[in-house]
Subunit: 270 residues, 2 copies
């Protein structure tokens, strides 16, 4: 493979038009089957690298997932992180904020959920909802959400400088693929519980959300906390891109098992 | 198999003498290999039942692990819960309490970490340390730790009545097996980081800890929150006992996928 996940990283400083990103891209693979062994290998590497991260205790990793409804956040998390020791991996799903959370600033509950050193923290939705739904539905005025991009950039930079690598995946699906997936939820008895009529109602705001995503990708993909636009119509390709990016990021931390206590060679267990 | 994990459940109301529990029991298995397919099947069932628990959102499960040093808590958690979707499984490892935690009652930080509905919460050490190390090392006076058994019983009963199933595993190893495992940590470069000289020092208190365990098992194994004494010298047998117990407990909750929204049959996705 000449192409890596880096092809899907949003370069800081450029303009973003989501129309230019194909949702059904397959990179250089010609089928699901050809990607499978590489993706499985990546899953194993993530598991092993997490083990070293836990032992070393010097770095944390924050992985953020955002997508349109039915974009595959739950599925991606299940595919990629089942297999990682849950003692070293914490998933937080952000739903509607509680009354108490609403009384705080928009970063508060997300900051609380950031992983400590040694841990991979996975956020299913994130502080980016504050420039998505809160913008599209006019929950806060433009004068407020416009300021948030910089607060987010600075917050994520602080995390990175303090030892938490930050990576963000936007799972990019087409409007047709969304329709198909919502339809699946209506037909499959094991998926029906996931269906909410708001998923259908929200489709009328598709273009507004796509614009809000384009803006946040442009504003908040930085060197220390990059965004990836992951082609996500094909779940198997989505999983390859994400797992490839995670392996590269984790390897880049150059972690190692910590040195044992001094004098360990003289210890006698009695 | 005629024997189930229930053979290792501590009956409420009886006397407990740990000497009567074999640490190297193999049940009715004659080898690791003969248990393997059953244990793997249990892991799959736990994964599937957790999926239903998450969807239904009516129950939580709190799984508590306690053991002597090197008793296999980390290993058991890794073996049994890797493979469960981490979005539905939260592991909390309790180390030395922080200054802030010490200013609260002994249940406080453990209560904070209890799983919400839909989630399996795994506690690596627990509020039982308040009647273990705090007793053995005279951190609190006897007049205080003696009262804690009832507070624990009532607390766990409250959890159960409010929808959280509670199950507790004491991983029971022999003093010789502990010696062997500490020695392993000294010899294996990938395990050295786990070695702490306090593990060796604590061995002189072995009998005191065993007595403290016997007392808490006797005092706090209840109908709504049973203790299991898991023979844990053989890791594979430990994993079978725990996984068998978890499958039975999860099945007993009789969970099902929730009904879909009303009118779902008339929904048109446009």
């Amino acid at each position: 493979m000449a192409i890596t996940s880096d092809a899907y990283r949003v370069r800081p400083g450029g303009k973003v038009s989501l129309k230019k990103y194909k949702t059904d891209d397959m990179g250089e693979f010609d089928s699901k089957e050809s990607a499978h062994p590489l993706t499985q290998k990546n899953f194993e590497k993530i598991r092993d690298l997490q083990g070293v991260m836990y032992a070393e205790g010097k770095h944390a990793l924050l992985v953020i997932f955002q997508a349109m409804d039915a974009g595959g956040k739950d599925g991606a998390i299940q595919s990629i992180f089942t297999g990682v020791n849950p003692q070293g991996c914490r998933v937080t799903s952000f739903k509607q904020p509680s009354l108490r959370e609403r009384k705080h600033d928009f970063l508060w509950r997300h900051h609380m959920a950031c992983p400590p050193k040694g841990i991979i923290g996975v956020h299913n939705r994130s502080h980016y909802e504050a420039v998505l739904v809160e913008r599209v539905k006019n929950i806060v005025p433009k004068s407020m959400w416009k300021e948030r991009y910089e607060h987010i950039r600075v917050f994520e930079e602080m995390l990175a400088e303090e030892g938490t690598a930050v990576v963000k995946f936007f799972l990019h699906i087409s409007k047709d693929e969304q329709k198909k997936r919502i339809q699946d939820r209506l037909n499959d008895p094991k998926k029906m519980w996931k269906f909410s009529s708001t998923d259908v109602e929200e489709r009328q705001f598709w273009d507004d959300y796509q614009q809000a995503y384009a803006d946040l990708l442009e504003q908040c993909s930085t060197k220390h906390a990059p965004w990836y636009v992951v082609p996500a119509d094909h779940k198997w390709f989505r999983n390859w891109v994400i797992s490839d990016a995670l392996v590269r990021i984790l390897k880049g931390l150059q972690m190692e098992f910590p040195r044992p206590e001094k004098g360990i060679e003289n210890v006698k267990v009695v």
